[in-house]
């Protein structure tokens, strides 16, 4: 009983808050991970609150205050659950291609259900407007998918308008660019069609090159997209677009080829022929999943409503200055 009373101390509540504050401050200033301090303080605070619920009759007799604290407890549990099942990732999808479920990189909770392959959609291209000074304005990306009833759907999504599929949210991002499409014809084998995503544009305007390995070749192939001038003007409004006039530079070992899309398109490599097919775009998507969010928002709303009710009951009946 003594332990329970000690655990239910309001001084302990205050001490936990102070430690929480100092911990957050330390993590922020020292660049440490927030998770350990948040987890530890929320766990301590949850224990303290449960003990208070059992031992303080006065607390239980104030329903609004009780609901507020219970809602806070639910928020703590939901946040912890969310860390176990969340997903944050990035995907790159070529114009005209379907999202295959592959992420470029990601971080996820241990129990994330991984149903990304069921969230397939096609990227039909995008428009990005720029204000003077290369300030990116809205992005409009047309996508299509087949819904659960087998009906084809289309939508225009953006940085702030996600595509919602199977609980996943797909947002466009600043990260988008050009992609070179090549056909690789190994000697005596069937040709392979593939794309090389160049670094994001205009963020990496001076680094529009990429290297990759072709099947059967010992060394990597390097390719660069070359064009004159700025596609998006620095000093006036503009739009992301494909260059009208460009050439593709390919390098393998010491050899170098300059491909002009209008005529020469084939490069002879030791193991076969590499044919340049065309230039297109790719969009980088932010992919997120967290099933606890709607419940978190519900619990938060209940918490604030209950707190408002508590203060209303406490203060409304009693004037602050009765004289």
């Amino acid at each position: 009983m003594t332990t329970l009373l000690r655990l239910a101390s309001l001084r302990l509540t205050l001490a936990i808050f102070v430690v929480f504050l100092l911990g957050i401050l330390l993590a922020h200033l020292a660049g440490l991970s927030f998770s350990p301090i948040v987890t530890a303080c929320c766990f301590l605070w949850a224990l303290n609150l449960i003990a208070v619920l059992f031992s303080h009759g006065n607390f239980r007799r104030q329903p609004a205050l009780l609901v507020f604290h219970l809602a806070l407890l639910v928020i703590v549990i939901l946040v912890a659950a969310g860390r176990l099942i969340y997903l944050n990732g990035q995907a790159e999808v070529l114009e005209g291609q379907a999202f295959s479920g592959r992420l470029v990189n990601f971080e996820s909770g241990r129990f994330h259900p991984w149903s990304l392959k069921e969230a397939s959609f096609v990227n039909h291209g995008f428009q990005v407007r720029y204000a003077p000074g290369l300030q990116r304005l809205e992005t409009r990306n047309r996508v299509s998918w087949t819904d659960e009833q087998g009906v084809d759907q289309t939508a225009v999504i953006g940085d702030d308008k996600p595509l919602l599929l199977k609980g996943y949210r797909f947002y466009t991002t600043w990260n988008k660019g050009f992609a070179l499409i090549f056909e690789w014809q190994p000697k005596g084998q069937t040709p392979l069609l593939g794309s090389v995503n160049l670094p994001g544009y205009p963020g990496n305007a001076l680094k529009q090159a990429q290297q990759w390995k072709l099947p059967g070749l010992p060394e990597p192939v390097w390719a660069m997209l070359q064009f004159e001038g700025d596609l998006i003007p620095q000093d006036q409004e503009g739009e992301f677009r494909l260059p009208d006039d460009y050439q593709v530079v390919v390098r393998y070992g010491e050899r170098r080829w300059e491909l002009n899309p209008a005529d020469s398109k084939v490069v002879d490599l030791p193991g076969g022929q590499l044919r340049y097919v065309g230039l297109t775009t790719w969009m980088g998507y932010l992919v997120t999943w967290d099933a606890t969010v709607p419940w978190l928002l519900l619990a938060s709303t209940i918490a604030v409503l209950a707190l408002s009710g508590h203060f209303w009951q406490k203060y409304w009946r009693r004037p602050w200055n009765p004289d």
């Binding site: 309001l10 102070v18 990116r136 304005l137 809205e138 940085d159 702030d160 928002l297 602050w320």
Partner: protein, 272 residues
Amino acid sequence: MEALVELRVLWAAVVAYVLAGSIAIIGVLLKKRPERSVLGLMLVGLLVHTASIAIRWERLGHGPFVSMFEILSSNVWSLMLVFVIAYWRLPAVRPMAALVMPILFIMMGWLMTVSPGETRLPATYHTVWLFIHIGFAKIFMGATLVAVGISGVILLRSTVFGREKFQRLPGNERLDELSFRCMAIGFVFESLMLIAGAIWAQDAWGRYWNWDPLETWSFITWLLVAISLHARLTFQISPRQGAWMIIAVFIAAFLTFFGVPFITQSAHQGAV
């Protein structure tokens, strides 16, 4: 041309606010209560300031949410609005205007030194949650400002000068009760601000919370308010100690609103 009109109208509003504040300060020093003049000038300033914001809104096609100039201007406006309501509804504590207005003078002075250049609303700001999130934040700041004014009276009363000048105001225990009621209102609205911000962040960036500098400092401020409210319940703290806690909360909130944008490059800057 319209930009010049907007600035001139803003100057007129600042002049009205400064006159109101100066009269309030003189009133306290001379132990007079020129409350009608103060309220009238504050209202005139508020109306003219509203016109200045409206002209800019019409000219740029978006509200005052992007640059430091816009954020300072809209915050001076919202703080004045909350303070005018408090001034009107709480006649017993009106002399606190002599302490609150200098805080707003600092913000107005800062406002006049930052660039009023044209801005564009980022894509993720095209949402109703922008108004909800910022609206709650402004009410929180307003309630905290009123609490700071009352706390200032409590603290000044520990000096001979303060005791003499604020003699006619209710006792410190009553003022302490009122200031913590303001903090309770502030706590509710700061919580709402965090929730609305999380909904917006989920929509705009695919995550409801990311511990970016502004989120971190907002949470630190929320914890400070929670600590001050709990401390008042747990310990029998004196009005003076309570007043210091409220001032600490206000400093943290002020740094969060106006300091963090200078030290972060993240997407969620508050001012960009």
